[in-house]
Amino acid sequence: MKPVHAFLGGVHPKPNKNTDVLPSIRLNDFPEVEILLQQHIGPPCACVVAPGDYVYVGQLIGKAEHPMAVPIHSSVSGTVKEIHYVVSAIGAPVESVRIESDMKFNMLPSLSCPVINSKEEFLAMVRSCGLVGLGGASFPTHIKLSPPKGKEPDLLLINAAECEPYITSDYRLICEHPDQVIDGILAVMKWIDIPRTIIGFEDNKPFVQKIFSHELGKRVFKTGEKSDIQIRSLKTKYPQGAEKMLIYSLSGRKVPTGKLPHDVRVLVMNVTTVCFIGRYMKEGVPLVRKRITLDGSALNTPGNFNVPIGAKIKDVIAAAGGTREEPRKIIMGGPMMGVALDRDDCGIIKANNAILVFGSKETKIPAESPCIRCGRCVAACPMNLMPTGIDQSTRARDLNGLEFFHVMDCIECGCCTYVCPAKRFLTQSIKNGKVFVKAENARLEREKQLVTSLAGSLPGKEGQSGKQDQ
């Protein structure tokens, strides 16, 4: 067993894995769903249904026209009511399809298990079943599985770390469908031609090693078949599940700043994403359901719930047992990097892993006070940055300072803000700093081009004169 590398920094919030022993419950009691037509990084899908149409479970409702786009399918059977723009969880307008469910969940008759005979067919399948990175990033999986020439991966890493507090959906998936996880891993290894896989999980998850060893032991591999799958336990430390940290911990390779995992010949996939590949190849139903951890002090019965994509959050909370006090904060995601919602009628999207519902006690965020230069943020940063320096430069609108402190290398994990005794909003300040740097660099670029174009319009020279509007 090779030595495990430990990244510097990181924090240890209270894990609160309250729901890890509870089996997942399937919920279907949703009278209507609101399915967004953009649930991936890239341009939105084009709607191919109209109000009044009857749709089946698994029927295509959003066609992926751009190469990066990933198709979207209906998660219920029923009538399309409306195609309109809604505000997403992060505040952006997105086109959405509202479907009234007939509660029958009739499957699309033409659904069938895929037959794969080549890498191209495999990638086409990965795209057509609607798969994106289900760890929260929503990166189109078919693009992830097609790294540029010369950067083919020699190592597949499966991210089962689940380092955010509260969230246990990946863990429950491992407990309930380890066979589909291994199926998916073997399919990726075969068609993308990756010789070796390591599954990494945090050591606060009991039995993962046993579950996977047992599952692998059941399989009979032919000679020459790729079967090198290791299971490795990692020390529990947030953000162990962050891509760069996971790659370093499992393989010792450091992804250079500004580069991607394929630049160190590694491919990282979330365990739920790779499991879906295994499941789709056996069952043929596109991505229309998601396992969500519901937790938080305001809930009656926290747990993991398998819900249709597009189910409204307030309906999910009600179907899962309801609240015992007035919710004051609803977070889509974990408490370290999740987004606080301003309304509870957003539809569940593919990237959701958790809904946290807190009452007034946990919602109090203390007021900011001056930085006392204690250095805890510097010690906690997994990227070795100086958050207090970035904070200072952002507030002073100091572009040179921001670049000196490498603001663009921040992964926005929230460790600095978590440890700050002065309760400064460091992560928020760093995000503002990044926006400022991008805007300033764009402005400087425009000015440079303006100067160049003006120089080209001096008397005696041919060509167009005048300003060029960007």
Partner: protein
Amino acid sequence: MKLEVSNSPHIRDRATTASIMRDVLLALCPAVIASGIIFGLRAVLMILVSVLSCMIFEYLARKIMKRENTLFDLSAVVTGVLLAFNLPPTLPVYMVVIGAFFAIVIVKQMFGGIGNNFVNPALTSRIFLVIAFPKAMTLWSAREGAFSFLKSLSGADLVSSATPLAALRNASADLVSSATPLQDNYTLPSLLKLFLGDKAGSIGEVCILALLIGAAYLLARKVIAPWIPLAYLGSFTLMVMLFGNTSFFETIIEDPLSVSAWETALFEPTYMLLSGGLILGAFFMATDYVTSPITRRGKIIFGIGCGLLTFLIRYYGNIAEGVSFSIILMNILAPNIDRLTMRKPFGGRKHEQV
């Protein structure tokens, strides 16, 4: 339904500025009690006056500057205690108040309040008082005779006495024996007396035992990291061993197995470590967050710098405030040390200076 929409992360660690200051105050309690036992009630009175003056000056300064009240972060209380710890037990009370004014208003608030001072307020105020009131600030006393609660209450049994370091300097004697009388019947205290505080000196610096108890608490609570004290005391001890009056390494190499050789060799470094404000400075002053570097490498460089300077001032300098000046000089260098010891980002090449 009214939902709170704030930016991630949505959870915070328990520590606050005030809770950290509370830990520091707890760590200073043993030394406060020790000062009362050794120097009598007057010492405790000085600490109280210092704390109250610091708090009042901070409140007034913030009000006059039209800024929000920062008394609740308890930093003024900590400054008050540390300032008093640096003063001789017979200092007139009005000078304590002036010292508090200088520390809080001039060194701290004029530069922007907590987090913005570039030198340690308590130490700088001590230097200011030494320059402003040299006679009163160098009038040292020690407790005379056996310890007794009643005598301590009246504080009447303090007699003026030289501090060990001052006596050594005046006599230019080599530190060889603890029983050598130097001048005016002054006997150098034994190592045990040095450790327990039965000597002349500032209120808070004398009882090493109490200070170490407090330091252990701070280290256990992770309020201070061990790097600065280790680097400070380590480099200082090494300099004493190499360049002090007793050649440590020569003595040891000559006769490595003899206990008395070790005793002779170790006497000077131990004596130097336990004298003056070194332990107080290394654990409570140099580790002040605001004025020390924030990177680990920076803290080590800072500690080594303090150690070197303290050695130079004690052995080749003429002043009694070796520790104070060393720390202040390194405070001034702290921002530069930070910039030079910044780590390169994970996966990055060494950063280019902008």
